[in-house]
Structures are given as C-alpha cells and as structure tokens.
C-alpha cells in the first residue's frame, strides 16, 4: 500500500537508524515501539513470520532482547525514497547470546512510513530468524 509520509530524507534515515536501531541496541523497547503505528506490521519475509500490531511487536522485541546479551547493528547502507516515504538499509547484525555465542547476519530492512512512523517493516535475513 502507498502511504503519505511527512519525513524528509534525513528524517527517514534518523527514524530508521538512530531512533529504531539505536533503541534496539540500547534495549529500550519503549523507544523502539515509539517508531511504530499501533496497527503496524513487521514481517520477516525470509521466514514468512509476521508480527501484527504494536502488542505483538512488543512481545517479539521483549523476547529478542531477553535472548541476547549484546545486540549491535552496524555498517548501514541506506537507500532512501523520500517522495514515497520508504527507506531500505543493508546492515550487519551482531548478536551475542548469554552463553557467549556470536551470530553475524547480513540483513536488509524495508520500511514504509505513514506520517512520521513505521506502518510496514519487512526484514530479509541472511540466516536463521531470531525475531520469533
């Protein structure tokens, strides 16, 4: 679906990288959820897993954050479509669990923005889906 976005190029990048991933890495779930509309949808497309609505997205992030001692998202390459309210980023996700095991993923996220928040998020992963 096509949405109307109010964000400029730099604001789209700030929302996706600083406010979203910055808060994921800080394990600040409320900060992460502030980026989403109440009826937003997050789909891990490579695993056909969809989290529908803010309550389900919160549950997913609560489990994901609890399962990992350290979460780092880095090395972003952003592609920004300002006039259509869309941003895509390729990045490395570095996850360290409580046993000290490290998982490195090379992922791509697609965000579709309505107004100034995420309406739809799609994640394509290079490995097993940790967002369950």
């Amino acid at each position: 679906m096509q949405y109307q976005s109010s964000l400029k190029r730099e604001q789209l990048i700030e929302l996706a990288i600083e406010r979203y991933f910055g808060n994921v890495d800080q394990k600040n779930i409320d900060g992460v959820l502030e980026c989403f509309h109440d009826n937003a949808m997050l789909t891990v497309q490579t695993a056909f897993a969809t989290h529908d609505g803010k309550d389900n997205i919160r549950r997913m992030f609560t489990d994901f954050i609890a399962a990992n001692k350290t979460i780092i998202h880095r090395d972003f390459t952003c592609t920004v479509d300002e006039k259509n309210g869309r941003i895509t980023a390729n990045f490395t996700a570095e996850l360290v669990d409580h046993e000290g095991n490290t998982t490195l993923l090379n992922n791509t996220n697609f965000w579709r923005i309505r107004g100034d928040k995420f309406q739809e998020v799609y994640v394509y992963m290079s490995g097993e889906n940790p967002l369950i």
């Binding site: 190029r9 497309q45 490579t46 056909f48 952003c78 592609t79 920004v80 479509d81 006039k83 259509n84 869309r86 941003i87 895509t88 390729n90 090379n106 791509t108 697609f110 579709r112 799609y122 394509y124 992963m125 290079s126």
Partner: protein, 131 residues
Amino acid sequence: MAQIPYEYYVDIVTKRYFHGVDNYNLEQVLDCFHDDATLTEVTSMTVHEGRDAGIRTMFEGLFAAHDRIWHGNFVHTADTQTQAICSQFSVEVTPKGEPQFLRYENCNRFYLRDGKFDKVFVYMSGENLLK
C-alpha cells in the same frame, strides 16, 4: 554525468531486467549489467562474478531449469542520490517437468554506475534458485 531520473531506476529493473528474465531474453538481461558486475545471492552467499562469465552462466542455468518464470507485485525504494534501487517482489517459477509452480517473496538491492548494474544482491524466501 547528469543525475539519472527516478523513473529510470524503476524502468531498468522492471521493463528491462525482469521483463528480460521472464521472457528468457538473456541478452536483454545481460545488457543491464556492467561487464565487471557481481550478483550475490545473500541468503546462501553465492557470488556470480562478471556479466559474461558468472552472471551469464547463472541465468543460462535458471532458464534451462524452468518452464515459466514470473516476477511481479513490485514495491521499490529508488534513490537517485545514491544511484540505487531496492525492490520487493513476488516470484513464481515452474521447474521443468513439474506440475506445480513455486512461489517466493524476494528482494533485490541494485547499485548502479552510469546507468547499469554494478552490484546486485538477492534475498530469497526459500531455497536458492540462482545457483
């Protein structure tokens, strides 16, 4: 070189590249790439190097293995500033000799240089077809 317009990115992906793939037009497909381009299937980390080497061989294998290939339902993130377009889409393929088609929900990231593909990255929702 003047900045390439927004619609160029959508057109090269849909009207030239995927139209060529779906119609088994190998030369039209390869004409979208620079000769030193790479195509990487990220979910299996398979890298195809060179338009007339690895990429040609990969498409010859894809075409030989399937009776039907269709790409559609595109949603694009096109960026004239960074000369890139990232596309989400559905794929249906019918393997030769098989009665059923397979459906995938994939994405590609295309990075262009002077109007042609320099680096292409593919994520597949199922088993890698681009071997």
